[in-house]
Symmetry: C2
Subunit: 503 residues, 2 copies
Amino acid sequence: MRVFLAAFLLAAAATASPWGPSASWASTSSSASPTASPSGSTQQVFYGRFISTPSPDQLSINTGAVLVTSSDGRGTIENAVWNVTDLQTALSALDVQDGVPIIYAADNGFFFPGFIDSHIHAPQYPNLGLFEGTLLDWLQKYTYPMESSLSTTESPLYANSTTPPDPYARAHEVYAHVVASTLAHGTTTASYFATVDVGATNILAELALSMGQRAYIGRTCQDNKDNNPIYYRDNSTAEAIANTWSSIKYIQSLDPTGDLVAPIVTPRFAPGVTDESMTALAQIANDTNLRLQMHISENVREVALVAQMYPDQSSYAGVYDAHDLLTDRTILAHGVHLTDDEMDLIAARGSGVSHCPASNSALGSGIAQVRRMLAKGVHVGLGTDTAGGYNPSILETVRQAFLVSRELSFLANDDRSLDVPTTLALWLGTMGGAKVVSMEGRLGGFEPGMLWDVQEIALDAEGTNVDIFGWETWTERVSKWVWNGSRSNVNRVWVGGRLVSQR
Amino acid sequence: MRVFLAAFLLAAAATASPWGPSASWASTSSSASPTASPSGSTQQVFYGRFISTPSPDQLSINTGAVLVTSSDGRGTIENAVWNVTDLQTALSALDVQDGVPIIYAADNGFFFPGFIDSHIHAPQYPNLGLFEGTLLDWLQKYTYPMESSLSTTESPLYANSTTPPDPYARAHEVYAHVVASTLAHGTTTASYFATVDVGATNILAELALSMGQRAYIGRTCQDNKDNNPIYYRDNSTAEAIANTWSSIKYIQSLDPTGDLVAPIVTPRFAPGVTDESMTALAQIANDTNLRLQMHISENVREVALVAQMYPDQSSYAGVYDAHDLLTDRTILAHGVHLTDDEMDLIAARGSGVSHCPASNSALGSGIAQVRRMLAKGVHVGLGTDTAGGYNPSILETVRQAFLVSRELSFLANDDRSLDVPTTLALWLGTMGGAKVVSMEGRLGGFEPGMLWDVQEIALDAEGTNVDIFGWETWTERVSKWVWNGSRSNVNRVWVGGRLVSQR
């Protein structure tokens, strides 16, 4: 991983244009396409143990082989054979020709679907572990200063470092780190909030593309003068709309198919935007069929503020719905304090909720009602909410989803129907996330037709905190991985069949 | 670390006697004394950055040098000089002779007091990450089967592994792992619950001594026939008392000073023991001035069971107090549901509480009122409660202490006076823990007279999840370490001046 990162940092340093890549930089973006193997084959076979969560309460543990083809340019699972422990039998069953490369899962390990981080703020990555207080104060003290520093040479944050010569120097550095780090943690798809700045946002898109992460990238719209700092906001609604378009167009020019990297329309949260920009952004997204993302109902004071701003609307979700922002391509981050009526509305619209338990505990936001949302048919995935959450790992988010659910069940007189068991939490971080980012059927499992976005887990990796004695069943080993696994256990990561991270 | 572990496993395999060490094994115990440096000096100088929490709300960050002497056989801080950044000045100030070895803290790192795990079940270590349900069911399903398997060749748990030829084979293996792993996580002192079996308990004491961990080791007393499984209990109160004495005597023979390894009297929890054994064990501990440890008020059903067993007592703490078990040498694990009156009683008796937030969340036990206990003068430290807790790391426990406190403050209408900030949580894991294990003034900081029980943290270690950009203040770096640090960042660990773990 370090090698990859060093190379990209060098590349980033060579790209000084604030509005996008130099010609040489752009030319590297072709490397984002799933490439043929060194042997020239457009096929690869993955062989060994495969573990996944095909349904919310099912942990599938199987040995077999999966044939991945990149002839469609996407790195898709063409065929799979299960319950075989003999390679030749598997290759015959898959009708694989000689010369196709075979990739083996670690002996004391397995292939697992790549994690989907459905809510992550890329520019806040350097703030991981730095936070205090609750949402609205934290935004002013930690978040906006860091985000704004990614497109200036004059941030107060530069007091402890050399002033960068290039206003985008920190954007290049921070975004290269966040993509490399999340890939190294097994996150193959991320739905990123970037910053209000178009140039910095475009740099994130370039890096995700060249480093090979599936990424939805949103310039944040925040044109409400009352609830954004003067040094970090859209100066007018017209500017917000123009800059949203500008970033959309640029990102679409990088990856016209939108398969790997795509823009996502991002009105930050109801208090931070205006009536007019919400209407305009909904129209942009709905006309172009783009995804949408925004925060909802994270903090009780935020909810009260929205109620005060929109006294005619019945709820926070109602505000978004009145502006046509609740679609089946919409990701709503947090949803801690949603009412039953709001859950019903969100379910009816087909929108998804990104559950961010680490962040919600760290900022004292409360605990989201995951089981209640699922029961009502709301799509739910997981988000690290870097850096309200303190850790860029979805595996840590899986743990926290379990732990906070146990507080809920304790408070409800040991009502275990509120629990989020680890199998469900893993499902939320893969299959559930796929629904939330509008990639159901394409991500999260090992079914033919799905993309090969996969992490290889090694339980006995150097530096691991997972201690396997040898007598454990594979179900127990998965549980040990869930509870003590870390990036140390992520051996290799592929996106669309391309190897994008390696220890 | 791996080298150390391999050596001890070999040593362990060579020791087959169920009742204690072979002669050759016992002879290795002398290596537990703080040893002279290779140069023959009984002094060592530690130089660089030192970070600690001298008080609950103070993070001290300093550069300087500390002179440690082992001439007293203990590895004690003789002198310290602060606010120096020049080695020669420091050596002059400390009046250090030529030839004394100098140990440098990592450049991007620091010395930090070793962690104190005031509640850990050594035999449950293989169950880390394996749990479900709440306390009383979990004990039956996971805990007692694993604990009993450490002194038999016939456990159902051996279904997936070769039957060991030696009833203590698993005890040797598991206990070598738990000591090596906790040391590698920076835990220099542990208060261990072992099992009901004397031989297995004695093996843990031998290993802690030879591997150099400061450890209080308790054979669990559980003679109540109603609340212990037939396959895992003391068969009579008389047997419980005799076996308690037997283990005490053996452990005291290993380390007559009790400085490094000492027995701790361990009536498991009120439901698991009898009236008679509580009285007898209190008398043993009070006559010999030994420490005591037991569980208290972890789970609401457990509390109800105790109330039912002792209808004449006003509370769970009252039951222990009526048996003279609440002393200033007593460690009470959990204390989730203590009433105000119980806290007052515990404070009056000078007993300490081991706060185990990871375990309490994992088992749905609830959230302990740490700030309330501290305000009432109760001593509070941290415990991993391996394997109710899923991680053997006190640093993870520090994180969880913060996170669960934020749930409390959220539920109390954002009453921030309930928060356990990370500085306080670090204090609980060091200075607070020192009070709880009756080592106040000897452990937890860098004051002259304190033992050199210290971990060296390296922030840029291989495999670290701490991402330092270079512009962060040292306060921010500590925060990043707290939130994303792991055993990867623990470079070296000393106990009583002896180097006992190294990456």
